[in-house]
């Protein structure tokens, strides 16, 4: 409420369960995000790919399409267990794509399987939420989207200045170091055994 459309982050939610789609949509909207929901990994990639292809601005010298989407996706949140392409498969595909790999990905699962959690985090997922997802879980999303936005803006600057001054190169290095630190501090559910693991009543 009250936020201009341009300043809202756009989240793509992927889940084959119609109930969970309705829930995550409401949770995300309540958290002031713009939401698109799809019911499969394939459709998610289509949605992401589609916007890569048809919104390249011919006026910019830059080559990276990711910076010029009209409908930018700032985060993908996906269920793990889906028929066909699993959330893990989708995560891999996103991280393997040069144009999509900067988009933060969050995995949701109803099963608390430590090896699954580790695998996803190692593959580049930012968070792993146990279902049912709560509003409090979503408060963890914004930092990831902000970090990426900052990183994207920086990359845009890099590309525009075809010949970098040494000073610019140094700034880029600093940013990369900060990113690494961020990754090291990333909370791993399995190590801490905390927040994603909620005790169920009874």
């Amino acid at each position: 409420m009250g936020m201009a459309a341009e300043s809202q982050f756009h989240v793509l939610a992927v889940d084959d369960s119609i109930i969970d789609r309705k829930l995550i949509q409401k949770l995300l909207k309540t958290s002031s995000y713009q939401v698109t929901t799809v019911d499969s990994g394939t459709k998610a990639l289509e949605f992401l790919g589609l916007h890569q292809n048809d919104t390249i601005n011919p006026n910019t010298p830059s080559s990276s399409p990711n910076n010029h989407q009209e409908v930018e996706v700032n985060l993908v949140i996906t269920d793990y267990c889906m028929p066909g392409m699993t959330g893990y498969d989708l995560l891999k595909k996103i991280k393997e794509s040069s144009s999509l790999r900067n988009i933060p990905v969050v995995i949701m699962s109803s099963e608390n399987v430590p090896s699954r959690i580790t695998r996803c985090l190692e593959e580049g997922a930012e968070e792993f939420f146990l279902k049912p997802v709560r509003l409090s879980d979503l408060s963890k999303l914004r930092p990831h989207m902000l970090k990426t936005k900052f990183k994207d803006q920086h990359q845009k600057q890099e590309e525009k200045a075809a010949f970098q001054s040494p000073k610019q190169q140094k700034t880029e290095q600093n940013l990369q170091q900060q990113q690494q630190q961020c990754n090291n501090n990333k909370r791993k559910a399995i190590d801490e055994g905390l927040s994603p693991l909620r005790r169920r009543t009874r």
Partner: protein, 157 residues
């Protein structure tokens, strides 16, 4: 007069909710649903629950037809249905139903057909019970709205 009716209805609703929580039929996830309901989605809870009913009945029919098949052996398929049922039940806070699904899944993993049949009957019973109680809850809600003459979101206990 109207004030008294509204108070009585509210007491009825609270009593019903307290019962459902106390018996473990519903858990805190249902509260989460109630909290998500607001002016922009004033019927959120009933919408989600109605989707749940629709999906659950499909799943129960599939489970029953699988088990009724004399040549049934596809426990894998049954496991998939059960996972779906477990997931959706968990998402709306249908705690007891989810627990029965867990037991059902265990029987299925052991290829224990008799155990599965017993679990299915229990599941159908629990589902029926929950459906009736939630319908009762929604009815009280509707009456409250009429009694007050305005719409307001469902109160937490």
């Amino acid at each position: 007069m109207l004030g008294l009716a509204a108070d009585r209805l509210r007491a009825d609703m609270n009593r019903l909710l307290a019962f459902l929580f106390h018996q473990g039929i519903l858990d805190e996830q249902f509260l989460q649903l109630q909290q998500l309901q607001d002016e922009s989605s004033p019927n959120f809870v009933s919408e989600v629950v109605n989707i749940y009913f629709h999906e659950s009945e499909k799943l129960l029919r599939s489970l029953r037809s699988l088990l009724m098949d004399r040549e049934f052996s596809d426990y894998n398929k049954m496991g998939i249905h059960l996972n779906q049922f477990m997931g959706s039940s968990s998402s709306i806070g249908a705690n007891r139903i989810r627990n029965v699904c867990v037991a059902f899944r265990a029987a299925s993993e052991q290829n224990n057909r008799a155990g599965c049949l017993r679990a299915l009957e229990l599941l159908e019973h629990e589902y029926c019970f929950l459906k009736n109680k939630l319908h009762e809850l929604f009815q009280i809600q509707q009456q409250r709205v009429l009694a007050a003459g305005v719409r307001y979101p469902m109160q937490n206990i």
